[in-house]
Symmetry: C2
Amino acid sequence: MDTLIKPLQDLIEKFRSLDGVGKKSAMRMAFSVLDMENSDAFDFAQAILDAKTKIGICTVCQNLSSEEICPICSSETRDHSVICVVEDYQAVLALEKVKEFSGVYHVLHGTISPMKGIGPDKLKIKELLNRINNEDIKEVIVATNPTVEGEATAMYISKILKPLEIKVTRIANGLPVGADLEYADEVTLYRALLGRRDI
Amino acid sequence: MDTLIKPLQDLIEKFRSLDGVGKKSAMRMAFSVLDMENSDAFDFAQAILDAKTKIGICTVCQNLSSEEICPICSSETRDHSVICVVEDYQAVLALEKVKEFSGVYHVLHGTISPMKGIGPDKLKIKELLNRINNEDIKEVIVATNPTVEGEATAMYISKILKPLEIKVTRIANGLPVGADLEYADEVTLYRALLGRRDI
């Protein structure tokens, strides 16, 4: 026996194609599937298909949604005049956990990245402009990640929104709570100083 | 938005049910599926179903196989009078990699483990006895893992094979190649001393 049996090899390759899964993990997962009850394996396969077919994009905020308009965009208790612009669905989840933001979101589905060949046209920026033109928006909070690409995207958005005379803000940079100055990088420290406030 | 959207939540739970997959990893994998092409996701689902439906057990050695008799058991170049008894398919893969063993295997599908409620009757031990009774077997090498359960299983097998007057051997314990005595545990060192050989 030189190699793995074909259906097992195939399944291992599928697991390996997932983000962050190496050879050993993929094998362990494939064996987990073999150890499953047939019905559980069927449910697993079905869950993959369901995730692809039932999850779409909210026509308003472009966030992942199983409905045409997501629960946040259709909520009457949220402030629809404040839009928080984020990179992805995970960012929405993170911000929703804080339970402090009562506005709505706009999901860009990525950041501008010349290295990966992603220009502004590949992001949901024109959908954002549409919303701003057609709705009564008071503030746009740009909450892309404080990475090179995230900052570039934030800059780009602030520039195209300037002519529209809307308040555009950026989430603060600084030391995370519980951090130690000793271990903070220079850029973070510099920005923490720059963003200092009266106490 | 209090929780994840349902189809995504379902998929994350399926990934979490796999051996060694935590919450964060499961989320990352689920998002990988969402990022896939539809056809890739379909192939993934199909690979899961194929693994469950196309992989059976070799009627001779009980190893995983996509044929009724696995390539090792049907091979004419292997020594069918020497059976190496292992816990699982992974052990067969590991031993095959060494390319030194030319006999055949017998896969127990586990070890005796009173803690998990696994008695000898739940393992493929009677199938092993059948083989020994019906074939011309000269040696049985017990290569279960050197764990408590593996040793107990090895002991059990050697006991039931004793009346049949077959040579039963156990793979050696000792220091792994490249190891350091300083970091070896006492039991391994003790067994390494016990198994010492003339040089």
